[in-house]
């Protein structure tokens, strides 16, 4: 039976478990054996989801000690000969996956958004050239198949009732880490755009008046998000970026203001129920995904819509 290893990143444990959906996508209805690797972290909730859980408990390995985690992967690969290794594209995962691939002398595809299985040949799809096109990538004469996947890319529905076998693994060659955490300070607790039911999102068309978006977001009780273009210009923080290189969001309402809708942006919209786009170009790609397209100036739209909502709220209060 084919074996799949998934790295369960302690920093993003639940999202990592979701990578099982990608494994399902690879094997469709065929059976495979799923392995989860947990390093210095464990949560009982995964016991019924995997066939095997490999546990490493070694306080010499810190979560940022990519070098020694790579060593663990190398040893485990030699032992179990996995067919597929899936790494969540978290910050740690993005440093880890390339090292493992180099160590195992195998190919690696980053930020995979789709998978096809062509009679055993696994085709990995990822957006290329700023999302303008999609590229299908295959491994050439090397194994295992390795990919990194952003959280939420594949929808995971947990309906398995497995009973994981626990395998304890003791790493035997640990190198000095050479990196020491001196201190960490939590960022101001900004809400995560992935948790907001309403997103008011801005692109290049509203870059100059980006702060206006917050007025509408406040009125609707939603959050502001941004396209990559605005983030690259330094106007909005990367933490609110929607898209392939940002976050994948599933709000009930997405208001796209001055957003062109490049493929890499659209990759960030997953199961969005309603999209309203406002754009001076009614043929922008985002418009073809929208329930409502408003052709015109997005800032003017914000002001007028806020006025209309305020008027409604006032009459409600009077009643």
């Amino acid at each position: 039976m084919q074996k799949v290893l998934i790295y369960l990143d302690a920093e993003n444990f639940e999202d990592s478990v979701g990578l099982l959906a990608a494994a399902d996508e690879i094997y469709k209805d065929c059976k495979y054996e799923s392995f989860g690797l947990c390093i210095n972290y464990f949560d009982d909730s995964v016991l019924d989801k995997f066939d095997c859980l490999i546990r490493v408990n070694d306080e010499r390995i810190n979560y940022y000690d990519i070098f020694n985690i790579t060593n663990c992967f190398e040893d485990l690969y030699r032992k179990f000969l996995f067919d597929v290794i899936l790494i969540p594209a978290t910050q740690t995962g993005r440093m880890l996956a390339p090292r493992i691939a180099m160590r195992l002398q195998t190919g690696l595809v980053a930020d995979v958004t789709g998978i096809n299985n062509l009679e055993g040949k696994i085709e990995m799809i990822r957006p290329a050239f700023n999302g303008r096109i999609l590229a299908a990538i295959v491994n050439q004469n090397c194994s295992p198949v390795m990919m990194s996947i952003r959280p939420n890319t594949f929808t995971y529905c947990n309906n398995s009732a497995k009973k994981a076998k626990i395998i304890s693994y003791e790493p035997y060659h640990i190198n000095p880490c050479g990196i020491k955490l001196l201190e960490s300070k939590e960022k101001e607790k900004a809400r995560d755009i992935r948790e907001s039911k309403i997103l008011v999102s801005g692109g290049g068309g509203v870059a100059e008046n980006f702060h206006h978006l917050y007025l509408l977001a406040d009125e609707l009780g939603g959050m502001v998000s941004a396209s990559r273009r605005v983030v690259d210009q330094g106007i909005a923080s990367r933490s609110i970026q929607v898209g392939q290189s940002g976050k994948i969001v599933s709000p009930k309402l997405y208001i796209a203001l001055g957003i062109y809708g490049s493929q890499q942006h659209i990759e960030g919209l997953k199961n969005v129920e309603n999209i309203i786009s406002v754009n001076i170009n009614k043929d922008a790609p985002i418009c073809s995904l929208s329930d409502i397209v408003v052709e015109g100036d997005a800032i003017e739209f914000i002001d007028k819509l806020i006025k209309r909502i305020k008027k409604y709220n006032n009459t409600k209060i009077k009643k």
Partner: protein
Amino acid sequence: MKLICLVKFIPDVENLKYDYDNNVIIRENVKLILNPDDASALALALKLKDMKQNINVEVVSMAPLNVIPYMEDLLRIRVDRATLITDKMYVGSDTFVTSKIIARYLQDTEFDCILTGTHSLDGDTAHVPSQIADILKVRQMSNIVKVYEESFSKESVVVEVDSEKEYCKYLVELPAILSIQKESKYKLPFIKYKDLGLDVRDKLYIITNEQLNFNKNEVGIEGSLTKVSRTFVKKNNKKQKFLLRVDEDGIETVFQFLRDKGFV
């Protein structure tokens, strides 16, 4: 101290044109820019050179020969040496092969610290810095938004990393590869007016496969472990849509839509 900056010149992706009929990128007359994260890494190196004595900065890039004018411009802002790794054999290399080629050059080069960007605007795989680190058996840290310049010594450096939920301060022993984000706000200086025409050719070194000695089947498309099997434009499911304008009717329709769906 010797600092090496790995940089990449990329097509200005925002202004890239795509030929939808033939499914190819139009590459003629495409302007190249220095990848923004890499520019920040180089700016940091030059800042350290300003602050401390005896710091030597080398820029290394793997690219076709047409980047030479861009590399010469880096030499005009006081980079000490620019190395261009280039060979027809290397065309089409994936990230795995690219890392092997650059690492082979670095293996025979002395350095205390290698600086790179974290993201690249074109491929955005972020594979190369980590893969080179694995070949050179050195540490590597991504998403660095601040380097405590005064802490920079031959033995170690203190850096700040933006790790989604928090900012973490790390002491990193050198040699190491530090990957910087443009959010660090290190900015490259402009070329001074008097240096615009400066002859810098004696500081530009071209390295080809004659020096690096790969077999043909180890590099390029042939040596790559991944291959693009096909490219396509995704067809998005078109929705039945209303087309409105920013006028009273338009706003009213949007408002009613929001009310019907319970958003207001």
